[in-house]
C-alpha cells in the first residue's frame, strides 16, 4: 500500500515537473533579463510610468486627429484612414477607382481594405523603434504608435507603405477579427450619425469629421 502511494506520488511529481518546467524556465529567464538590465543601468519596468506615458500619448493623439477619429480610437481601439493614392495602396495597383482605407491598430500591422465590399487587401507591418531605449524598451506607448502611423499615412502614404513589410491578410491579425471590427465600425458610425442628427449643435461643432 505504502509502496503504491510512493509510486503514485513520484509519478505525480514527475508529471508536475514536466508541466511546470517551461513556466519555471520563463520565470528564470525573466529574472536574468531584469538582473542584466539593472546591471547596465536600465531602470526597472514601472507600470505607473507606462500608464502615465500612455495617458500623455492619448492626449497628444486627441489633439492631432479629427474628432471622429479620436472617438473611433477611444470607442473601438483603432482608427480608419482613407487611402489617398489613385490606383491603390501600392504602385502598379488599379482598384478601378474604388476607394480603399486602412485600419490603424496600435502595435499591430496596418490593414488595407475595400470599404465597399469589406475585402481585405494586405497587412503592412511597420514599427517605429526608438533605439535610444530610454527605459530599456524601444516600444512607443500604444497611442503614440497609432499617432505615428496616422501622421505618416496622412503625410506620406507611399513612403510609409514602402517601408512596411507586406503580408497577405491574416499573417498577424485574424481576418475574422478585422471583419468583426469593420462590422463594429459600421454600427458605430450609424449610431454616431443618429446621435449627431439628434443634436445639430454638436454636429455643427464637429466640422473636422
Amino acid at each position: 500500500m505504502t509502496a503504491a502511494l510512493i509510486a503514485t506520488a513520484i509519478v505525480v511529481v514527475a508529471l508536475l515537473w514536466e508541466t511546470m518546467l517551461p513556466w519555471i524556465e520563463r520565470r528564470l529567464a525573466g529574472l536574468r533579463a531584469r538582473r542584466e538590465a539593472r546591471s547596465i543601468g536600465v531602470p526597472a519596468y514601472d507600470p505607473g510610468r507606462e500608464r502615465r506615458a500612455e495617458q500623455r500619448a492619448r492626449e497628444l493623439l486627441r489633439s492631432c486627429v479629427n474628432d471622429e477619429e479620436w472617438e473611433m480610437y477611444r470607442d473601438l481601439g483603432f482608427i480608419r484612414v482613407w487611402g489617398g493614392q489613385a490606383g491603390g495602396p501600392e504602385e502598379g495597383w488599379d482598384l478601378g477607382g474604388a476607394p480603399y482605407a486602412y485600419l490603424i491598430y496600435p502595435h499591430k500591422p496596418i490593414v488595407a481594405y475595400l470599404p465597399q465590399t469589406g475585402q481585405l487587401l494586405n497587412e503592412y507591418c511597420v514599427e517605429f523603434p526608438d533605439e535610444t531605449r530610454p527605459f530599456g524598451s524601444a516600444r512607443l506607448p500604444d497611442s503614440d504608435d497609432a499617432l505615428a502611423k496616422w501622421m505618416a499615412l496622412k503625410g506620406d502614404e507611399q513612403r510609409l507603405i514602402g517601408q512596411a513589410n507586406l503580408h497577405l491578410p491574416g499573417r498577424q491579425i485574424d481576418p475574422r477579427k478585422v471583419q468583426r471590427d469593420l462590422w463594429r465600425l459600421r454600427q458605430w458610425e450609424r449610431t454616431r450619425l443618429e446621435r449627431l442628427a439628434r443634436t445639430p449643435r454638436e454636429a455643427s461643432g464637429s466640422g473636422q469629421t
Binding site: 514601472d46 510610468r49 507606462e50 502615465r52 506615458a53 500612455e54 495617458q55 500623455r56 500619448a57 492626449e59 497628444l60 489633439s63 492631432c64 486627429v65 479629427n66 500591422p109 497587412e123 507591418c125 511597420v126 514599427e127 517605429f128 523603434p129 526608438d130 533605439e131 535610444t132 531605449r133 530610454p134 527605459f135 524598451s137 524601444a138 516600444r139 512607443l140 506607448p141 503614440d144 499617432l147 505615428a148 496616422w150 501622421m151 505618416a152 496622412k154 503625410g155 506620406d156 513612403r159 510609409l160 517601408q163 512596411a164 513589410n165 503580408h167 499573417r171 498577424q172 466640422g207 473636422q208
Partner: protein, 83 residues
C-alpha cells in the same frame, strides 16, 4: 514653436521651444531639427486643411515648416516589422 518627441516610457517630451521670428531662437530650432533628423527621427507637422480637417505633413527640412506652426512632432522612423 514647440518641438515634441515621442519616447518610450514618456509619451511626448518637449525638446525645444522658441520663436522662429527671433534669429537666435530660429538657429536653435534649426540645429535641433537637424539633430533629430540625423538621429533617425521623422518629423511631422499637424495641419488643418481648407475644409477644416486635421491632417499631417511630413517635413524633411526646417524651411518646410509653416512659420505659424505651433508643434513639430518627431518620432522614430518607420521600419518593416513582423517578419
Amino acid at each position: 514653436m514647440k518641438f515634441l518627441r515621442m519616447r518610450p516610457g514618456h509619451g511626448e517630451q518637449l525638446i525645444a521651444e522658441g520663436d522662429p521670428e527671433v534669429a537666435e531662437d530660429e538657429q536653435r530650432l534649426v540645429d535641433e531639427f537637424r539633430r533629430q533628423l540625423d538621429a533617425g527621427m521623422w518629423a511631422a507637422v499637424p495641419v488643418t486643411s481648407e475644409a477644416g480637417r486635421r491632417e499631417a505633413a511630413m517635413v524633411h527640412d526646417f524651411g518646410q515648416i509653416p512659420r505659424d506652426t505651433e508643434r513639430v512632432i518627431f518620432f522614430p522612423r518607420a521600419a518593416g516589422g513582423g517578419r
